[in-house]
Amino acid sequence: MNAHLLVLEVVVPLMAAPLCMLLPSKPAARMFSIAVAWITLYLAWSILGALGATEHGVIAYELGGFPPPFGIELRVDWANAYLLLLVSGIAAVVLMFGPGSAGAAVAEGRHAFFYTAVLLALAGLLGITVTGDAFNVFVFLEVSSLASYSLIGLGRGARAPMAAFSYLIMGTIGGTLFLLGVGLLYQMTGTLNMADLTTRLPDVLDTRTIVLALALLIVGVGIKLAVYPLHQWLPNAYSFAPSVVSAFLAATSTKVMYYVLVRIIFTIFGAAFVFETLHADYLLLPLSLIAMFGGSLAAIYQHDLKRLLAYSSVAQVGYMMLGLTLASATGLTAGLVHVFNHALMKGGLFLAVGCITAQVGSSAMGDLRGLGKRMPFTCAALVVGGLALIGVPSTVGFVSKWYLVQAALEQDLLSVAALILLSSLLAVVYVWRVVELCYFSEPDATQVEVTGRPPVREAPLGQLLPTWILIGSTIIFGLTTDLTVGTASKAAAQLMGVGP
């Protein structure tokens, strides 16, 4: 039975989306999508359990009953089971967030479509994570991307459609380059199944076409992952989208694309080829360092809280890339652990910003003045999330920094280790800007009357609960790391060692 879990994990949200569209009222659609998200979470949890039962940690499932190289195969090992749990967990929590589609500029009578789009984005991401077929990744990549373009376009304010449009253009270029890369691989080996690719690639590895295929795949996935030079779309997309959407996307879509990059480099091509013969780390290491510093520096000078968090996401992607380019078991564990940790931190922070925008009407830094007294719990969430971003011990940020620096030291890169810690100091600057605004400055009297909004009260429980579930888990997983580090190290060993 546990093999069927794999396909149910994707099919349940996929089939739920059209059903959700038919539901008449907004609350019905919202409850239905939350229920579906929790079902996918349960399925992901049981997949993780089933994976523990198998002896070599891989579950394969042939679709349509056709053996792998001919039919499509779903293949789950520790790496993607870990991602499944993360994505469905984040979805289950973020969907519970209060305003839901109210946060978006949706024509009334169309709210059920908002939840359909969210379910489709979730199904797309789960589809990418579960499948073992290269072309299938492209199909579900497009499903999740199209859903997220339309969700971003729904942001209140005039600039959301433009942000969604530039994300669409760059995202589609990325997707098409990915398609071209898969086509080159198919042309040289004759197969699309990832496991089959691994066995057939070694004897064509020296051809220029395969090097071009790797370059295309890295650039294509790099655009969707917002690696440093290709990240221009991310700040606009996350800052103008509705807060629920940016919380969901910031915590899941870049993470799944990171998993795809790991799968490409470590499973299909093999770390030896990518890092020893091609020396891709000469390019990727400096890029990730620039991302760490550039992202944080840009975040310091932002006037809008969501834009600040978006730029800090660019910096955090730099940390994950650094873990990847260190190409050792600890490095990969560090990258995978930071995937989980960053999702919790960024998801929680964006939801906190959602609470603020719901009350204050905007996320500009000027409006944060003196919020500490009127919205104590939301500002406390911002502070704890900020501490996690800095990497204070007993938070998840510390765990990822711990493993990243270990990985750097293992390869005697003392300078890289020092740079990692220095860049997290930059995080102190922009987190403390927010803290000072919240707690140490008084709201200027003029601003309160002008907007004529009702007086700012603490966010309702419906918004605070999911925020504090995510923010609380940044502490819990900071102290008990057996789930995150345990699974990540098993996944890293599997990816570095024998491969699936």
Binding site: M15, L63, G64, P69, A117, F135, L146, Q187
Partner: protein
């Protein structure tokens, strides 16, 4: 070797692409994109990809041109000319050079010993005869071996129409008779008043729908299938809408029906898979439908799946048209009513 006809068509294709790049008049550019798709459809037929040619012609020349023209009607007609900058050209030439160096080790065009013809393809060709008995191998592979991909494809078109309806969605109210919509701006005759056009199209629409259904059910034997049929039937309904205006069309084909239709299409496809799951096979394994004769079971499965795709695509095309056309009316009502009712 004989002079390949493809060379000429490729030259035409390059010429069209260049004109699209250089043209300022966006309507002409939209037309050139249509011609670009038609030319590529011809090239696909020459490369024995008949199904792809059919779809490219139906989608490239048909639907995307309609979409481009309706967007241009709502936005600008001409593009502002901009000074020539070097950076994009340099970047493009650089990427092009890298791609060309990558092609040097590829198997030659049409080389029968290339890895892709040796590894997986023979099984598909032999399997079509042995397990399925379906002449059109492409439809067979599309629906069975890579049925999960096609399910993804249906969900992609479903996502696109949900996205368009979200972005351009108009209120789901019954279109009242009082509203007198005119698609073309004032002063110009409306399409409905062109007697000849109305009579001719009234004659042609049923034929198109008939042809669409033929393509739907003939998909196993010749080029065709759910997707192409959906586009063709959608085009017929859009033609009716163009002639008689959106509100009359919405009375004939109300949008709630279409929304249930598109949901039904996707659910039909997914449901077939779940049915095969419940009957003991793997997901989307049609052989379990008819235990004693797997070939018949697979036939039934492919038919159901193609039906699902057909319904979903038809409704998607019409819904996207509603959203774009609805937006034009919303704009017009907005202008006429001085700020909208």
């Amino acid at each position: 070797m004989d002079f390949p006809v493809e060379v000429i068509l490729f030259l035409f294709l390059l010429a069209t692409a260049l004109t699209v790049a250089l043209l300022e008049d966006l309507f002409a550019a939209a037309m050139m994109t249509g011609i670009f798709s038609l030319l590529s459809a011809c090239l696909f037929t020459l490369m024995d990809a008949v199904d792809v040619a059919f779809t490219e012609a139906a989608v490239g020349a048909g639907v995307s041109t309609v979409l481009f023209l309706s967007t241009l009607a709502l936005t600008a007609q001409r593009e502002k000319q901009h000074p020539f900058t070097w950076f994009p050209l340099l970047l493009v030439i650089l990427t092009g050079a890298c791609l060309v160096t990558g092609t040097l080790d590829m198997p030659h065009y049409g080389d029968p010993k290339a890895p892709i013809h040796v590894h997986v393809a023979p099984e598909y060709i032999a399997g079509a005869e042995r397990d399925f008995g379906i002449p059109n191998i492409v439809t067979n592979v599309l629906a069975s071996y890579r049925g999960y991909d096609t399910f993804g494809e249906t969900v992609v078109i479903f996502t696109a129409s949900v996205g368009v309806m979200l972005l351009l969605g108009h209120r789901r109210r019954r279109p009242g008779p009082a509203h007198r919509p005119t698609i073309t701006p004032e002063g110009a005759a409306r399409m409905r008043d062109f007697a000849i056009v109305r009579v001719v199209s009234m004659g042609v629409i049923p034929l198109i729908v008939l042809f669409g259904l033929y393509v739907q059910f003939h998909g196993d034997f010749g080029p065709g299938g759910g997707f192409q049929a959906g586009v063709i039937i959608g085009a017929a309904v859009i033609l009716y809408g163009l002639i008689f205006g959106l509100s009359t069309l919405q009375r004939v084909v109300p949008s709630p029906l279409l929304e249930t239709g598109i949901a039904l299409g996707v659910l039909l496809y997914g449901g077939t898979g779940v049915a095969s799951l419940l009957m003991g096979g793997h997901y989307l394994d049609y052989a379990v439908f008819d235990s004693d004769d797997p070939k018949h079971g697979r036939h039934l499965g492919i038919l159901l799946v193609e039906g699902g795709v057909g319904i979903a695509v038809t409704c998607a095309m019409i819904l996207i048209f509603y959203s774009f056309a609805g937006r034009a009316l919303a704009r017009e009502a907005f202008d006429e009513g001085g700020g909208g009712q």
